[in-house]
């Protein structure tokens, strides 16, 4: 070991350097390689965690830098202005290689289809010293006139007004020539050359930036309100991205709330359906239910669906009103919708009623878990207050009680996934795969309710017991996602 020798020969004040040397010798890879054949396994999260997703949260400047690198690369390769490179990139979803390939094949065709050049070569410019502007019909000296590559001449004032009117309508990268049937686009440098009002220039640049980000397949604006963050990932899939600034979690592919295991197109269909049918469903999912044993009216005030009637102490499931005992032990049947096998022979009316019944089954559960999530947030607040009291009274420290918060956030994560399993199941075809899905969904649901029950009674639950329950619930969740999350 050369390093060791070096170390021993060095003066004692070189402590810092000594640790540096250590790093040089054993960088992470080496370290793992050495111990690899012992009991520690190398874990690649992209293989074991179905939700693993690599992304960066970028600020505006970082995004500009990222975009400019691409722009410069293309403008250098094709020997064109950065402004024209932007027009090309925008119309080709920022695929530099594709653009270069097209350019090599037929440069003229590429420039025409990208609306940089007109399809027909423009007639030679008139040489007269005075020109009538076709827009404002004012005669002016020729040097006040400008045109794009299509040679359609307009006076400077008209160009400026044209740009300002378009920008005020939110149009920036799509501003075109003012001539009839001319599709040639005004590139950025042409627009900025004419715009002098600072407010307009700023607006224009803001709008073009939005267009560039929106057209870039690897970039997404954070959907959080007024959040300036742009998320970047080279993996364009329906995975969860969490904004580092406002903490909004969303699906990278479609930008909606994260929705695993359901696909983007399915969740969109489901949400539209829910919005359309909400009246009926709202009516049906009322806030109170009667205890199935003593029939006293019960309002649900906690997230857990394992209910215990305060009157008769009967344990039951809030969803199906069945006895809780049969839920936990044998088989959790409540999440499963039983489709009527003879439905094909029934009348249209019965079929329609059955379809509504099926929808309501899934909708109620979807809604219920959404409500539970909110109620569990309140539970967490109460928990925080109680722990605060305890700490004040000298019963443990904040650190001692931290595990409860971890448990609560894990519960939220699990219930969130559970909520999104219902639209998935609703659109699944009947068959063994659906049976397997509903089996796993039922398993997950049972463990989540157990966890919720234990968290609500946190002070009387054994810590080890709770942590065990957390582990089980999370395992069930990842198992389900591993088998069914297909992105």
């Amino acid at each position: 070991m050369e390093n060791a020798i070096n170390l021993s020969s060095q003066a004692p004040e070189s402590d810092m350097e000594c640790s540096d040397n250590d790093n040089d010798c054993f960088d992470d890879d080496d370290y793992y390689n050495i111990v690899d054949d012992s009991e520690i396994e190398q874990i690649d999260p992209s293989k074991t965690d179905p939700e693993n997703f690599k992304y960066d949260c970028l600020g505006e400047e970082q995004v500009e830098r990222l975009l400019n690198e691409t722009v410069e690369c293309l403008s250098y390769n094709l020997k064109i202005t950065p402004s024209l490179a932007k027009v090309l990139l925008l119309s080709h979803q920022w695929r530099v290689n594709k653009i270069i390939e097209k350019f090599r094949k037929d440069a003229s065709e590429l420039l025409i289809s990208s609306r940089i050049k007109p399809p027909v070569t423009p007639p030679s410019l008139s040489l007269s010293r005075y020109i009538t502007c076709p827009v404002c019909v004012v005669v002016q000296p020729a040097e006040k006139f400008f045109s794009l590559s299509c040679s359609h001449m307009f006076c400077k004032d008209c160009w400026v007004t044209h740009f300002e009117v378009q920008i005020n309508q939110g149009i920036s990268t799509a501003i075109s020539c003012m001539a009839r049937d001319c599709v040639v686009l005004a590139p950025e440098d042409f627009v900025l050359k004419h715009l002098s009002r600072p407010s307009m220039r700023e607006k224009y640049q803001q709008f073009t930036f939005q267009d560039y980000v929106k057209s870039h397949p690897e970039l997404r604006f954070c959907p959080g309100p007024n959040c300036p963050i742009v998320v970047h990932s080279t993996e364009i899939r329906a995975k969860r991205a969490t904004c580092s600034n406002c903490k909004t979690a969303f699906c990278f592919q479609c930008g909606m709330d994260y929705h695993a295991p359901t696909e983007c197109s399915i969740i969109k269909k489901w949400l539209t359906k829910c919005a359309d049918d909400s009246e009926t469903a709202n009516y049906i999912s009322a806030h109170t239910k009667d205890c199935p044993k003593c029939h006293i009216c019960i309002e649900k005030n906690g997230g857990c669906n394992h209910m215990q009637c305060y009157n008769c102490k009967h344990d039951f499931c809030w969803m199906c009103l069945g006895d809780w005992k049969s839920h936990g032990s044998e088989y959790y049947e409540c999440s499963r919708y039983r489709e009527n096998p003879n439905i094909a022979h029934e009348s249209a009316h019965t079929q329609a009623r059955e379809a509504l019944k099926k929808y309501l089954h899934y909708y109620e559960r979807w809604e219920n878990h959404s409500k539970s999530l909110k109620l569990e947030e309140q539970t967490l607040e109460k928990l925080r207050a109680r722990i605060n009291q305890k700490v004040m009274a000298g019963v443990g420290t904040w650190i001692d009680w931290q595990y409860l918060f971890t448990a609560a956030s894990l519960l939220a994560k699990c219930r969130y996934t559970l909520q999104y399993t219902y639209p998935y199941a609703y659109y699944m075809d009947v068959g063994p795969r659906k049976e397997l899905f509903e089996y796993q969904q039922a398993q997950l649901e049972a463990e989540i309710e157990n966890l919720s029950w234990k968290i609500e009674r946190a002070e009387t639950t054994d810590r080890g017991d709770l942590e065990n329950q957390m582990d089980i619930a999370e395992k069930r969740r990842t198992t389900l996602l591993k088998d069914f999350l297909d992105v």
Binding site: V135, F154, T161, Q166, S176, R180, C182
Partner: protein, 199 residues
């Protein structure tokens, strides 16, 4: 009103008056006020179409930002056409929306509208009922459009059968135009029109 808009309209007004289309009585523009913000347009139905022989009056409103934004145009004369609302006269035509170019003029707008009358685009409809009839039963559509041209735009083709059916509904107390709309919408099936009117 912005200087540029008034200047342009004044110029265009002369252009239309001098144009050969006016000589052929195909298009016409009239000023409605001194500030050039409101005009009345007129186009004649193109030959060999159901609109032949009719004169269609248009309302033209010129926005402040003209010619950088398109003029607002709608039909005052009632017309049966897939791209024009039979209720409001609103027009679905690309050059009056995002395909407008500042170098276009009132003359080009009027000529484009005339072209729209000879070549409807039922796949981009303004009036869904009319567009459906156009696609499913073109002869029924032609007959209805010709009848509307006759009644509202002074077209020459009187359709006695249509008039009789309308009269029967009018005798039952239905307002004439309402009766015409109902019958036109239900392919002149008087029973279904009655059902719709009295339901």
């Amino acid at each position: 009103m912005a200087n540029i808009a008034a200047q342009r309209i004044r110029r265009e007004f002369k252009e239309v008056i001098k144009s050969e289309e006016v000589a052929k009585c195909a298009i016409k523009v009239e000023l409605l006020n001194d500030s050039y913000t409101e005009l009345k347009g007129e186009i004649t139905g193109p030959p060999d179409t159901a609109y032949e022989g009719g004169t269609f009056v248009l309302e033209i409103k010129v926005p402040e930002t003209y010619p950088f934004n398109p003029p607002k145009v709608r039909f005052i004369t009632k017309i049966w056409h897939p791209n024009i609302s039979s209720v409001t006269g609103a027009i679905c035509l690309d050059i009056l929306k995002d395909q407008w170019a500042a170098a276009m003029t009132l003359r080009t707008v009027l000529l484009s509208l005339q072209a729209l009358l000879s070549a409807a685009e039922p796949d981009d409809p303004q009036d869904a009922v009319v567009a459906k009839q156009f696609k499913e039963n073109i002869e029924m559509f032609q007959m209805t459009a010709r009848h509307w041209t006759n009644v509202y735009a002074g077209g020459p083709h009187v359709n006695k059968e249509c008039d009789d059916k309308i009269k029967r509904l009018v005798d039952m107390g239905v307002e004439e135009h309402q009766a015409r709309v109902a019958l036109s919408s239900y392919n002149w099936d008087i029973e279904r029109a009655t059902e719709q009117l009295f339901s």
